[in-house]
Point group: C2
Chain length 368, copies 2
DNA sequence: TAACCTGATGTAATCGGTTACATGACACAG
DNA sequence: CTGTGTCATGTAACCGATTACATCAGGTTA
């Protein structure tokens, strides 16, 4: 008894509901019909691919405008097997690093007509993989940021034939496409700068163990100490951890006269802890961070740090990935690990000390 | 002479390239074949919709696992006309506000099995609309953040039948779904707090003219002044603008004893300018910000500000939008503008002054 | 004038899912 | 033993684009 043929149904509903015409969106066939051409011509006009008479083009464009036609992305991706979308998987990342990175990526993506799907807040490797799986097929390629060592290799497996660019700071041994910050070099530069400005007891506030970047920066720190015994306190990249670590350092018998924190947020926490305790920076203790988040130039004293051009790195990542996608099957062409070298930015927090180490009356002659 | 039938071609290529089998990805039909069931059954198992024998389910799942099968998103969206993706369009926004918002949105999206397409860095209304158009058809709904007045209405038009949730801080007159911060109320609270702590010459550093939030906050400021003439300096929400503005304020004949900045970054800039000029905060001048970015608690003096739970607002936005999408045609059900009320967080930057305005000996008796 | 080329346009197969409807197996009532 | 209802499963139409190939008009050349 029910007469609901598909077309009948639609006709009825649009007749009833005069206000908000819930008629289905126009398809390429509707456009073709209205423009009195074939669907092929419409497609050609819209993709700018083939030879088309100016008359036809105009007729099609008019129809498109009149019907508010928007191509169905799913249908297109079904026949072309492209999505023009790239996925970004981020760790549970707070603060400005994240937003700067996305800004850079978005800029590059837009320049290439790609869209960006982001998925953040992935604490452990398992969550990261889940996000990766759920993105598969939805994107032409993915950028994975994960500080966990195993993540990179797993990612490539899970992704199947979807190209993956790894940005996890570790120099990947697998020969996968990657972009990494030269964490070791950066740490060495920080320590050498401290030594050059007369510091003698240099401590390190490191990131959580198991975090690739944290490990490498700590290693760089240790290797650059000229004979001095390492003094390492563990943190987790948060400002609070920096605060705690600095408190521990102040309780030591021989207080360090310099601190290299594994990132800016911890450096800032340390700075505040010193300030609260009446320990002056840079006079009593110098502080160096890592990343150069915008904040580093805003605190007092301004923070010496290792500048990583975050947005630029994001931009570069997207462009690499687009290259990988285009290369397709012969992606082997580009499997290098690109290195980003951080640059030391010297600010107030490491001005040469009036007193170095336990010599209270030695003045800082090196400052003009 | 060319014998390249489709299947032949594939067979050849996978035979040649033994290492990376570039065979096409498995389809639902491959899975059906391997599991010895029909595609319908496979689909049913994967969507958990219908009644399925446990045996069949297992066979299907095994085949899926073995073939690394991932449903083709485009094909699915073609037949269901859903994308399970929501779009977020952001203005050219720096700093922590952005990242916090995305964090909140991502959390909510993930909880509902949705994906997030973001597009940031849209300076003017035209760019915003372009982003919106290019996202159309790719998402089930969109969240538009734009401080420009016209954007909201335009957005709804351009979007066609795609649901749009506006988050631009202005109380929208059009009765569109929206979430807005109570900028007016927040500004009033800031000024009243300053008055209550004994300040008598309260200046305002506002955001750029034409920016909806800036306008409303300035209006709230003006309306809360108890008789005092308004002192307004224009900024643009950046830290540098706050610095400049504070410099201007210090050059006035009668220096203000309090500053309400339209956001935290400008408040911070002002704080630094005062500090550099030897003007003490809070003794000589009190400062209030807006947003409560994490940074506000990290500077010294810590910054009194109006807390907006940014991540929570993002979460809420996504949930509203998902509701709108589900409501579909009868989206009229929910067209309210939801208000987020900021909460005053009192910190060091507004500690009661020893001297208030031009009455040096009047103490702030009104505080308990 | 026939043969042939060229460039614009149309026809229809195809991509990989979902799902309405058809089918078939089986149990149980009459 | 037949009729009927239930439940699992299969068949095939459909979603809306792209694109290989067919077609066709018109001009050129021999």
């Amino acid at each position: 008894m029910t007469l609901r043929g598909k077309h009948l149904d639609i006709a009825a509903s649009s007749a009833v509901n005069g206000r908000a015409p819930a008629a289905k969106a126009a398809t390429i066939r509707d456009v073709a019909e209205r423009a009195k051409v074939s669907v092929a011509s419409v497609s050609r006009v819209l993709n700018g691919s083939d030879a088309i008479t100016e008359t036809t083009r105009q007729r099609v464009l008019d129809a498109v405008a009149h019907l508010h036609y928007v191509p169905h992305v799913g249908a297109r991706s079904l026949s072309t097997s492209r999505t023009d979308t790239i996925g970004v998987i981020l760790p549970d990342l707070y603060g400005e690093f994240f937003s700067e990175l996305i800004r850079g990526m978005d800029l590059a993506a837009r320049a290439h007509g790609k869209h960006l799907i982001v998925s953040s807040s992935h604490g452990d490797t398992e969550e990261t993989m889940a996000a990766l799986r759920s993105m598969r097929g939805r994107v032409d390629g993915m950028i994975v940021l994960s500080p966990h060592v195993r993540a990179a290799n797993l990612a490539a497996d899970v992704a199947g034939r979807t190209p993956v660019l790894v940005m996890n700071g570790g120099l990947d041994e697998g020969g996968r496409p990657a972009i990494a910050v030269d964490n070791h070099g950066g740490a060495v530069a920080a320590v050498e700068h401290l030594i050059a400005t007369g510091r003698r007891r240099i401590a390190h506030i490191r990131g959580a163990a198991g975090n690739l970047e944290a490990d490498i920066r700590a290693e760089g720190y240790a290797s650059a100490l000229a004979g001095q015994d390492p003094i390492i306190v563990e943190g987790d990249f948060t400002q609070a951890a920096g605060h705690r670590a600095a408190t521990q350092l102040m309780a030591l018998d021989q207080r360090p006269d310099a601190v290299f924190a594994a990132n800016d947020m911890m450096a800032l926490g340390a700075l505040l802890a010193f300030q609260e305790a009446g320990v002056r920076c840079p006079e009593d203790v110098a502080v160096v961070g890592f990343d150069d988040v915008p904040l580093a130039a805003l605190v007092r004293p301004t923070l010496t740090t290792l500048r990583v051009n975050i947005a630029e790195m994001g931009r570069r990542g997207v462009e690499r990935l687009i290259g990988l996608v285009q290369a397709g099957a012969n992606a082997d062409l580009d499997s290098a690990c690109e290195i980003v070298r951080p640059v030391l930015v010297v600010r107030q927090s490491t001005a040469a000390a009036a007193t170095a180490g336990s010599n209270p009356d030695q003045t800082a002659a090196s400052l003009s």
